[in-house]
Each structure stands twice: as structure tokens, then as C-alpha cells.
Assembly symmetry: C3
Homo-oligomer: 270 residues x 3
């Protein structure tokens, strides 16, 4: 028999994996749409850190099929008047609070339709004031996965009414680009907001100099193994952004790098 | 084609996610019943903490369909004479050691059938003395998911032979209720054993006073956003129990709250 | 309808669960082969610790069906000239870097076919220099799960060209065996490289003595509950290896045991 691919739902939260909160969301989803597939993106977003959640989601969603429903719940305003929303675009569908968690989608995707979820018939019968991930977002995603169209789950709202997340923009000069560290990952690699194209516009990578506080790194590398174990390096890694790392080590710990630190990349001086 | 929903198995353990123990359980399950679905409830139960496991399971299982098989393995007595059991009730089926891990089920569900697992034909061929999650409970759950009835996996045992977990009961007076913190979650929210109904019997929530050590909190709130960021609050949250939290913060760290701390809720004094 | 079991892919990495890297791998897999099943073995392998990854994989893979595809990516040499490989044997198929991560497979399985992955048509269109888990290994596994044979994903290479992992061998004398701690798990149990058969060759377990630094433990036990809570013990546990543990406690913390510590087991002296 030839069958359609099962609907796919991804989950991103700051709930952690200890307390069973994520499990309850999955129980709700599979109770409504038993054949849905569920993939975890992350449940270790730092508590209430909407910007980190938006960054993680932004890097991961392009690797999913366009049919995927991404549920993202980093939701410090749960139970207040912040809106529950659904976004649909060519690259996927997104469900969660209207608080900036979908910033990467809104900043990147050309044609986004936005809906405010307003149909309690598709939520759990009892809605708590503190756990809309379980009571509102999970069942909405499950019904969508089961075939209910967005127009029945919510009402269209204008894009310009959505909450946007301020994010630091890099600057470029003639002979240098200036940015900052925006994310530190599990390996201690410090990712900046400077895109690879800006780096390359400065000249051949081997001749560039990356400045991070007192540290001056010669050259922009392609991978960790370009330097000796324990050595720091600048590289353009899998996110397409300029990063600082230590080969086989932890740059965040070893160099004391953290979110918000300035990073500069200079072209070869004459 | 119209097909039955695939059987669903949830897993709760104190095995952590590092060592591959949970992966081995899933390998065993899918080797026996390849179309089973598996959902993780938690594998970060504090080691050997049966009470914490029972609490997490008790809060999560009501959100799963009644056809779900919940495997819970927090099992410090593994390899001793503690019995392996299966419980079946209207809200689900439960498999694990007879050590109190199913306390919430036994305390809540009206009609529970209990079985002692006694059919090695449905276990792995080799049974270790230290990993019954993999060797006994996972294969039993998989065979149940594949259609083997409980009566073939075990023999009925009387409910009053099961190990029960002592748990602190809250007390109520005319103008106050007295309980204690029974669980601290990932966010540092401190959950008490005082049910919402007891709180509400004291009068309108805005006029109540919650006492936690030297701290006196005015009012019982509905959600975190009712107070300013960084402020402590008492609230009735998603578990239907009185909790103490700090908005956008961690009450366990910020207030030094921990399991066992006394919590009181007083009605408005005249 | 009777259908084949869905293809099963297991994942083991050192990526952690915070950053969405594992989620991206799953998105890639399910975009290519939507009906594949995915199980996590571990994503908490210590960063760049190929030996720990090899140990975890080696203990878990025998519990999976032989049709399983195990993807293992602990890959400090990503982007260098280390080869991407596929191993096939009677117990499973394995995909990852040629850096020793499959040491347990190569040391255990009798008939292994090795392939170097060399068919970019089955990789992502854009290959980063730092994330072959997502760009090379995940799509290769997905295509294999979807029916593409190994011979199209790669070219056969001789087994003796594969990178092997040095690992400490235990030694045996007439009245004692000498080994070392090779893994400390989530519970703080310290697993040695001394196999149960060597222990048993020394005499009845009750009369043996296990020496770990200044600690002398009388008897080799079957399970934790053989001693009182808080007491240390030696036992042969689920991996079939001699371990040191503390009942209801953490031997690594309580005894200061760590990887590489010497462990001896002595027969009863006359």
C-alpha cells in the first residue's frame, strides 16, 4: 500500500526533560492524532529565554520538510494577554505564543500568513493559566496535523501586529565588520551575528584577523582540525556565521566568551 | 486504508540520557513490537527517588489515551525479591517494580487490577540482576503492546498486597490550610500538596496570605505575569496545587525553598 | 494489511540536547524517509570522547534488531580527511566517521563489510565543514533506510584500513585479575574492563576480594540490594563486567573513582 507520510510535529520548549511536562504534551498530541510523528528540537532552552529559543528554531527548521508543524513554547507571559498564534509559510507551520519566538521565521520567510488561535473547541476542555503548551498549543498542533485547516483554528491577523524581537545587527565598514556573540552552544563554540558573505567580502580568509577582546586570531578557518588541539580559532561553521572555537575544547569556558561580547573581523592591512 | 492507532508506550526512569540504557530498552521494545510508538516521560528522575518518579508519573499519565502502556522504572531494589507488576485501570496500563512508583495511580484510580509478572517467556532470554528495565519490563510492555493479554504476562494479586508510598497529607483548619512542598520543578517552582479546592474554601484568592518560612505572600494568583519580573508569588498552577514561584526567576534558588518545607495558606483575618 | 516493520535508525552523538543539532538531523532523515523510526541512544557523550561513545554504542546495539541502522557521530575530525564510513554485519549497520567510534563492533562482530561513503548524491546539496552529522551521515542513513543499498552509498574498503581504538586490556594471573575503570555511568557506578568469566575463574564470588585504591571489598555481589544503603560493593552488573557501586548512592562521587583507576580482583587466599 502507498500511504501519505505521517504528519510531523517538532517541539521546542524551555520545560527541561525532568518533570514530564513535555511527555504530557506528547500524550495530548497522540491522543488526538495517534499517527502523528513527534521530533524534539530542544527542551533545554534557558528558562524564559525567548531569543535563544528563536535562534535554535531558526537554525533547525530549514532542515525539516515544509509539511512540518513546529510547536515552540518559551512562554514567560503564559496566562497574560499575549496571543496564541499560528504562522504558515512555504517552509513550514509554526504554533506558539506571540512573543518573538518566531523571529527567525518572520525575519527570513517571504510570505507568512498569521492567525490568532481563537477556537477553544480545538484546545483541551480545561485550560490552565500556566501550561498552554499542554492545553492550547499541543492540541492545536495535533488537530492541524489531523487535517483541521488553520482557518478553523484561528482568525487571520495582520503581520505587523506580531511581536518582533529586537536583535543586534552587525555593522560593516570598508575594511572590517563588527558584530557580537549571539549564542554559545553545547561545545562552548561562540556564534556571532556576522554572516559568511560579509567575512568573505574582506578578502581571502587566510589573511583576515578576528578580534575578540584581547584575543587576535589569524585567519578564518573551515573546520576545527585546521589548528592543533587546544588552540583557539575563528571559523565559518554550519550556521553560516563567524564563530570562535577551541579545537577539542570549550571556547566559552577557555576564553570566557559569552553572549553579547563584541567580535570584529578585519581585512588584511596593507 | 483505515488502521488502528499504533500502540503507545511511555517510559519513565532514573537512568539519565547519557549511558544508552534507555536506548537499549527502546531497542528491545521495537525488536518485539516494531510498530509500537514510544514517548519519554522523564529519564531524569533523581536516582532512586521513587516518590519523585511517582509524582511525575501521576501528573502526566492523565494526559495520555487510556490505551497507553506506561513503563516506570525507578528501581533501587532491582534483583531483590521486590515483585515486578502490571496494573490495569480505566486510564491506562502500568508496568514496573512494586515499590510505590505507581502510588498516584493506586491513590487516584477507582478500579485497578494488579498482576505480578511471572512469565519469563515474555522477558529477554538472559535476565541480568541489575537492569530489569531492559530485561523484564521493556519486553513485557512490548508483548502487551503486541496483543498478549495481562493474564498471560502475570497472575492476579490482591491490591492490598501492593507496596504503598507514604506521602505527607495536608491538614485543614477553619481559617487556614497547612501543607508542605512536595516537588521542585525545572523552573524552580515549588509545588505543595495543598489542593486548589482547599485554598478556595478559605475565601477569595486575592485576600489570602501564603506563608513559607519568613516569607508572607499576599494573594493567590492565576499566573506568573500577575506580578513584576523577579517578584515571588503564590499561585495555583497547572497541577491544581498551590505553588510558590518567582516570575521569570527560580524560586528554589532565590528563596531557598526545598522539598519538605512547610507551606501555609491563611484566610483573610477579620 | 500486513506491512513490513518501519526502518529503524538509532542516533548517538556528543551534540547535547540544547542546540537543536539532533533535531536538524532528524528533520533531514524524515524529509528523505518519512516512515523511518528514530531512537536516541545518547546525545550526552562527553564532547569529542570517541572512546566513551564507542563504549555506549557497544553496550546498546546488541539489543536492537539486526535491521537497525546505527548512526554515531562523535567527530572531532569533522571536515578533515577522516573518512565517512558505513559498516554492515549480521547484527546491524553502522554509519559515522572512521575514527574508532565503531571499535566495539569491529572488536566483536565476525563478518563486517566496510564502505567509505563517497556518493554526494545521497548527501545534502550543501555540505558544511563542521556538521557532517546533518549533512552526510543523516541523509546517508535515511537513504539506506529507504532502500538504497550500501554499494551505492559507498565503495568497499578493506577492514584493515579502518581506524582502531586502543583500549586497555585487563590482565589475568593465577590468583588475581587486574584491570581498570573504563566508564562511569549516570548513577556513579564505575564499570571496569574485567569480564565476569575472569572473575568467576578465581573461585566462588563470595570469597573474592576486590581492590580499588585503598578500598578492599569482600565478595562480588549480584545486585545493589545485597548490601545496606550507603555501602560500597563490587558486583557483576548488566554489562557483564566487574563494577564498583554504592547502594542507593554514587560511587564516583563517594569514593572518588574515575576513568583509568586500577581495579583488582583477588581469589581467596589460602
Amino acid at each position: 500500500v502507498s500511504v501519505d507520510p505521517p504528519p510531523l510535529i517538532s517541539l521546542l520548549t524551555d520545560f527541561g526533560l525532568t518533570d514530564g511536562y513535555v511527555g504530557a504534551m506528547k500524550g495530548v498530541i497522540l491522543g488526538i492524532t495517534p499517527h502523528a510523528r513527534i521530533v524534539d528540537l530542544s527542551h533545554e532552552v534557558p528558562p524564559q529565554d525567548v531569543a535563544a529559543g528563536a535562534f535554535i528554531l531558526g537554525r533547525a527548521y530549514p532542515y525539516f520538510s515544509a509539511a512540518t508543524i513546529h510547536v515552540a513554547v518559551v512562554d514567560p507571559g503564559v496566562g497574560s494577554n499575549r496571543r496564541p498564534i499560528l504562522l504558515r509559510c512555504a517552509r513550514g507551520t509554526f504554533i506558539g505564543p506571540d512573543n518573538g519566538i518566531f523571529e527567525a521565521v518572520l525575519a527570513t520567510e517571504p510570505d507568512v500568513e498569521a492567525y490568532e488561535l481563537n477556537a477553544p473547541a480545538y484546545w483541551l476542555p480545561q485550560i490552565s493559566t500556566t501550561f498552554h503548551g499542554r492545553d492550547v498549543f499541543a492540541p492545536s498542533a495535533a488537530h492541524l496535523a489531523g487535517g483541521v485547516p488553520p482557518t478553523r483554528l484561528g482568525r487571520r491577523v495582520p503581520l505587523d501586529t506580531l511581536v518582533r524581537l529586537p536583535h543586534p545587527e552587525p555593522r560593516r565598514g570598508a575594511e572590517a565588520v563588527y558584530g557580537q556573540i549571539i549564542y554559545v552552544d553545547h561545545f562552548g563554540n561562540a556564534v556571532s551575528n556576522i554572516p559568511a558573505a560579509w567575512v568573505d567580502a574582506l578578502g581571502p580568509r587566510a589573511g583576515l584577523e578576528v578580534v575578540l577582546g584581547p584575543l587576535r586570531l589569524r585567519g578564518v578557518h573551515a573546520t576545527y582540525a585546521d589548528v592543533l588541539p587546544g588552540e583557539p580559532l575563528a571559523l565559518v561553521a554550519s550556521a553560516g556565521l563567524l564563530e570562535v572555537a577551541i579545537r577539542d575544547g570549550n571556547a566559552a569556558r577557555g576564553l570566557g566568551v559569552r553572549d553579547g561580547d563584541r567580535l570584529e573581523c578585519h581585512g588584511e592591512s596593507a
